[in-house]
């Protein structure tokens, strides 16, 4: 909300010059303290000298190009050549007359007229710098300004003639910026949705008066005009929303005999512009000005274009309306309309109540008789209509936050008075005022409630002073129990006792509230799962992986790009109604698609050796049954709550890694080692080890991995928790990733849920170990993990450790399709030194089982 300070100062008392930054900052600080947050400070893009001048004489010259100009001698007092403010006139600027010589192309003035002159050094809006310059055979030493050139008001024919605007007694050389208010500061405030009344000078002035403890002068403290037989108005609402009638007050006030050529005064146009609205015509400007001043949106109808009585009603199916912005709109039965009904009973739609008027009855350049509408419409009804038709109008913005139903009559008078003042005409007595307002319900505020909520023991007298100050009616309850408070008509937000507590707290000042740290609680610290996730992230980072974050949005065809089969469980994705980009309308079902995006971005930035990881939530399983729509403010029934929770898709934590380029860099020490499938597998094994969940590794063929280089990880209960390996070359090509990019992903939640419980102690043997090396020849297709598992099982409890230290292939020595796996087995007993026989017996047991299960032959 833009607040021109001179306008604010009209309704309250702002000490100091409102054309200074100092005062503007003070006002913003005061308003911020009571909850109107400062956003910005504006001043016009205009610097002087811009002064009052009197055209002493001029001569008219016609040039060959048809241009007719006036060579004017303008008295600008001390700014005249050689004057106190111009002691050293620029070359060529001294005139015979002793005044400033200025070329002017406009003709709407006469000798003796008082005008506005921009002098060299001035900068007009748009960065237009004024300088003395030679033109049309003279040195023009300044510029006589039009309203448009000063960035104020509409451009009417020619320059500003101050005499015509009613100014008198001006002195040549006087500052015209101050005279026209063009030096005023405007402060911009952020108005929160609960304070609709602050979308007006009236509301902000009231807040300022409370904040700065200065008087407030209500611009609509007018006695309501006695209603009479004005334009007939009726309400008919068969479908109130939430039981609230769409309209409960409607004032129609007529002004007859306005001069259609009349325009808004410059100061009014200037204030509209400063407040962010464009001047249009007198009638429209006046309604806008009244709305900004009072918060009451008004609509001006051309009275002569109304066909009959006004009826406020809901739309009927199929009705249409062409709004002021020339858009034809299909109306919804929930839309509240202003209609007129002619003598034949035919109903015509005039406008969307509180949102936007229609083209049929708008005021035009020929309008003489104006009917002003000042009504109070239901906030929800207006909000829905504005949203439905996407019309965020100034009127709708105010109605949907709640306007003051008490000022409809006064606001209409306020506007009518301006119309009469600047457009002539007369106010028709006896306006229509249909008033169906319901008396407000008082709120009870317990005597101890403010202290209980805020922690400050407020003085009872201060509580009453503050609540009265905001305009509430306060009556004491018996026995000092507290107060019954009727909120002022402009504060529909004050419905609970805590709303009143906020008023007391903010107007006493939040700074008065002490700092008290609550006593320490007896918590359990992080959950085991939270600790495990931290450990995983730290383990990966310490293993050389760099953590990145990626957005969860993916393309609709991401599953195709990654080559997922039709029945892949990662295919069903949750989609958004309104994605930021239509290219990425879905949410990731696993991390790799977006993590690979981050990899590609890094590669694109010239970084070749990459090991990235991300942990985060993914959304799996796609769409479910819709969540029930339930009211707030009451605990849902257990069944409803269950449906609610059931409707939210599963979102497990995942961890993923991707690698490309060299895992170990080349350097002065020698060659590097390119990242390969082993790095991805190792990373996932490390993640599993960090969580404390044993996993087994199996060969798998799962997209988007290379079918021969994909490891699957299973927990003890057989649950598949993740995959790792080299990406499928087609996926690599489609995503334009570096060749042989490798990746792994694991469901952290599933992994952590299956971690082993509290670790139980195993005694550490101090007896010496016995090392036994075995080499086993098996078929190429036998997985090493299964051989190892057979050896481990066969070796029994004396086995302390088993490590595969060599894999050897040789057609000559082993035969085709065979491989030799060499293991070192470490045996140790807890209670004695093993004999050589014991150790070799255990080794033989191990190799026997491997032979039985996998046909492993011990190499001699």
């Amino acid at each position: 909300m833009l607040i021109p300070l001179d306008w604010l100062a009209e309704y309250t008392e702002v000490a100091g010059n409102t054309a200074t930054d100092e005062v503007a900052h003070r006002v913003m600080t005061d308003l911020t303290r009571v909850g109107l947050e400062e956003e910005d400070l504006h001043r016009r893009d205009l610097t002087g000298p811009v002064v009052v001048g009197v055209v002493k004489s001029f001569t008219t010259h016609k040039f060959g190009n048809g241009k007719v100009i006036n060579w004017c001698q303008v008295d600008v007092g001390p700014y005249n050549p050689g004057g106190a403010r111009n002691p050293d006139p620029a070359p060529g600027t001294v005139t015979e007359s002793g005044y400033r010589g200025i070329i002017c192309g406009a003709h709407n003035f006469a000798a003796g007229d008082t005008v506005v002159v921009s002098l060299p050094g001035a900068v007009l809006p748009g960065g237009f710098a004024i300088a003395a310059r030679e033109t049309y055979d003279h040195v023009s030493d300044g510029m006589i300004c039009s309203a448009r050139e000063l960035g104020v008001g509409t451009d009417h024919a020619g320059i500003i003639v101050l005499d015509e605007l009613g100014y008198a007694g001006l002195t040549p050389g006087q500052d015209a910026l101050a005279l026209l208010g063009l030096d005023q500061r405007t402060v911009e405030l952020n108005v929160t949705p609960d304070r609709g009344y602050c979308f007006s000078m009236r509301g902000v002035a009231r807040e300022y008066a409370l904040a700065a403890r200065v008087p407030f002068h209500d611009p609509v403290a007018l006695t309501d005009l006695e209603p009479g037989d004005g334009h007939p108005v009726g309400f008919r609402d068969e479908a109130p929303i939430h039981g609230v009638p769409g309209v409960d007050r409607f004032v129609a006030l007529e002004v007859r005999g306005i001069d259609p050529a009349a325009v808004s005064p410059l100061w009014l146009q200037r204030r509209l512009l400063d407040a962010g609205m464009r001047p249009v015509s007198l009638a429209v400007d006046v309604t806008n000005y009244t709305m900004l001043a009072t918060g009451q949106p008004l609509h001006a109808y051309d009275r002569d274009r109304l066909a009959g009585r006004i009826e406020v009603r809901r739309a009927r199916a199929g009705e249409k309306l062409t709004t002021l912005d020339d858009v034809v709109r299909d109306l919804d039965p929930e839309d509240l309309l202003i209609t007129d009904v002619d003598e034949a009973g035919h109903s015509r739609v005039l406008g969307l109540a509180g949102v936007m008027g229609g083209a049929d009855t708008e005021v035009t350049t020929t309008t003489r008789n104006v009917l002003l509408e000042a009504a109070h419409f239901d906030a929800v009804s207006v909000a829905r209509t504005a949203r439905r038709h996407k019309i965020p109008s100034e009127a709708a913005r105010r109605f949907e936050r709640g306007t003051d139903p008490a000022i409809c009559n006064a606001a209409a008078q306020f506007a009518a008075a301006l119309l009469v003042e600047f457009g002539g005409g007369t106010i028709v007595p006896g306006p229509t005022d249909v008033d169906r307002r319901v008396a407000p319900t008082p709120v009870e505020l317990g005597a101890g409630t403010p202290a209980r909520v805020v922690g400050v023991d407020y003085d009872q007298g201060d509580v009453e002073r503050i609540l009265t100050g905001i305009g509430a009616e306060v009556t004491r309850l018996p026995d000092g129990a507290g107060w019954s408070v009727t909120a002022p008509s402009w504060r529909p937000d004050l419905t609970h006792d805590v709303d009143l507590v906020e008023e007391i707290a903010r107007l006493s000042g939040y700074d008065e509230i002490p700092f008290v740290v609550p006593p320490a609680q007896f918590g359990h610290g992080l959950t085991p799962a939270q600790r495990a996730r931290r450990s995983v992230a730290r383990a990966l980072a310490e293993d050389g992986f760099t953590e990145v974050l990626s957005y969860p949005f993916v393309a609709a065809d991401v599953a195709d790009t990654l080559g997922l089969p039709a029945d892949d469980p990662r295919r069903p994705a949750v989609r958004l109604v309104n994605p930021l980009s239509d290219e990425e309308p879905a949410l990731r079902t696993f991390l790799l698609p977006t993590l690979l995006g981050a990899l590609a971005r890094n590669v694109g930035r010239g970084i070749k050796d990459l090991a990235l990881f991300e942990t985060g939530l993914v959304t799996v399983g796609g769409h479910r049954a819709p969540a029930p729509a339930l009211p707030g403010g009451t605990r849902p029934a257990d069944a409803d709550l269950a449906r609610l929770l059931q409707a939210v898709p599963d979102q497990p934590w995942h961890a993923a890694v991707v690698l490309a380029g060299e895992r170990e860099p080349r350097g002065w020490w020698g060659e590097g080692r390119p990242a390969d499938w082993t790095d991805a597998v190792e990373a996932v094994r490390r993640v599993a080890a960090t969580t404390g969940t044993p996993v087994t590794v199996h060969a798998a063929s799962v997209a988007p991995w290379h079918p021969g280089r994909c490891a699957e990880f299973r927990t003890g209960d057989g649950t598949v928790v993740g995959h790792a390996g080299e990406l499928h070359p087609e996926v690599v090509a489609r995503l334009e990733l570096p060749a042989r990019t490798v990746a792994g992903e694991v469901d952290l939640d599933a992994l952590i849920a299956r971690r082993e419980g509290l670790v139980q102690a195993v005694p550490v043997s101090t007896f010496p170990p016995s090392w036994q090396d075995v080499a086993l020849v098996v078929d190429e297709a036998v997985p090493a993990a299964e051989v190892e598992s057979a050896l481990t099982e066969g070796a029994g409890t004396l086995l302390e450790d088993i490590r595969l230290f060599d894999v050897y292939r040789s057609e000559e020595h082993l035969g085709a399709g065979k491989k030799s796996l060499a293991y070192r087995l470490t045996f140790r007993a807890p209670d004695r030194t093993l004999t050589a026989d014991e150790a070799s017996a255990a080794r033989t047991a191990a190799t026997d089982l491997a032979a039985a299960r996998h046909g492993a032959v011990v190499r001699a």
Binding site: R195, G632, L644, A647
Partner: protein, 360 residues
């Protein structure tokens, strides 16, 4: 050296000939001192202490002397041979040290060569900061809550006192989940975890919730559609706005140092009443004043939990009340580290994370 050795058969030195023995000792010491290598020393040692050396031969004669002479001869020979042995040992130690010094000199390497064969990883500073924030609340005995990112509208809005027609519901720039009637959104704040925690944990409740949230803002230098918040909710008997101020002031000091000043400024949120925004100003370690000249820095929103929120979770607001708050974590990170562009945080460039190392 050979001139000092005595050939076999020559007249043996008498163990009673103090002068002769002294000369033999001197000859031995000279030869030992002159030995410049371990080999030379070995030769000298053999020549002067070996079985055939004059001193050894003289020593051997002691046995043949009469008792009266034995003592004097034994004493002379013991002392003389001891001196020679000692000299050998001392010289041996000197020559060993020289040899080792030589070996070490030849093994010298350039230890300034860059050794970084195993690439270093890094945490994302935002994640590191989230952990740090969680640690702060855990230190006060709070617990760390969690909730889903795709969330039911009831939790995101209705339970938080945003009615279906509430203007603030439209202000949130919400991502809606398809289909239109799913009644799901991407959570616009971490506040839905307020209702979830109240329902699942009950009261008294002290929970902080770090998490990802979503708004339909295009990415620019100060906005990102996906960002993080830290939510806090405390509900107990007797909690007031003073406790809110105390908690947030400590939190701010934990994040920005003891120089932080905080203030609450009246604001509006449907789910708190009274509501406030918390502003900061502080001095960085480098002495830079943040929020002093340019106005206060907005850090987040807060307030006393609205009675309707408690009612939504079946909790009696006449008995329990509490406070809640929500801060932008990106904002906190930006202020703490002087980061100027949000792009760096969200684009996944490894150089950004690596700059911060393991902690933030």
């Amino acid at each position: 050296m050979s001139s000092d050795t005595q050939a076999p058969g020559e007249t043996a030195l008498s163990p009673l000939d103090a002068e002769g023995v002294g000369a033999a000792v001197e000859a031995a010491l000279a030869a030992i001192a002159a030995a410049g290598t371990l080999d030379a020393l070995k030769a000298a040692r053999l020549a002067h202490t070996g079985d055939k050396s004059p001193l050894a031969l003289a020593n051997r004669q002691i046995g043949r002397l009469d008792a009266a002479q034995k003592a004097a001869a034994g004493k002379l020979m013991g002392a003389s041979r001891g001196r020679v042995k000692q000299a050998v040992a001392a010289r041996q130690a000197e020559l060993d040290a020289e040899a080792l010094a030589h070996v070490l000199a030849t093994e010298t390497v350039d230890v300034t060569l860059p050794v970084d064969r195993r690439p270093r990883g890094a945490r994302h500073p935002l994640e590191a900061l989230l952990e740090r924030i969680a640690d702060f609340f855990v230190s006060m005995g709070w617990e760390i809550g969690e909730g889903p990112e795709v969330e039911a509208q009831w939790f995101n809005f209705d339970a938080l006192n945003f009615g279906p027609d509430h203007p603030a519901r439209q202000m949130q720039d919400t991502f809606y989940v398809a289909p239109e009637d799913s009644n799901l959104v991407l959570r616009t704040h971490t506040s839905p975890v307020q209702a979830r925690s109240l329902l699942s944990r009950g009261v008294p409740l002290y929970v902080a919730v770090p998490g990802k949230v979503f708004r339909t803002d295009e990415l620019d230098s100060t906005h990102t559609p996906v960002f993080h918040q830290i939510e806090g909710i405390a509900v107990d008997r007797g909690l007031t706005m003073a406790h809110l101020k105390g908690t947030l002031d400590r939190f701010a000091k934990a994040m920005f140092g003891e120089s932080v000043t905080t203030r609450l400024r009246p604001a509006y949120f449907p789910f708190t009443e009274p509501s406030a925004e918390i502003d900061l100003r502080y001095t960085t370690r480098e002495g830079e004043n943040i929020g002093h000249n340019t106005g206060w820095i907005e850090w987040g929103g807060c307030g006393m939990v609205h009675p309707n929120v408690l009612r939504s979770a079946g909790i009696d607001p006449e008995v329990y009340q509490g406070f809640a708050f929500g801060m932008g974590v990106e904002r906190t990170l930006l202020f703490r580290h002087g980061i100027e562009d949000m792009h760096d945080i969200v684009e996944g460039d490894v150089r950004f994370s690596q700059h911060y190392g393991m902690d933030a």
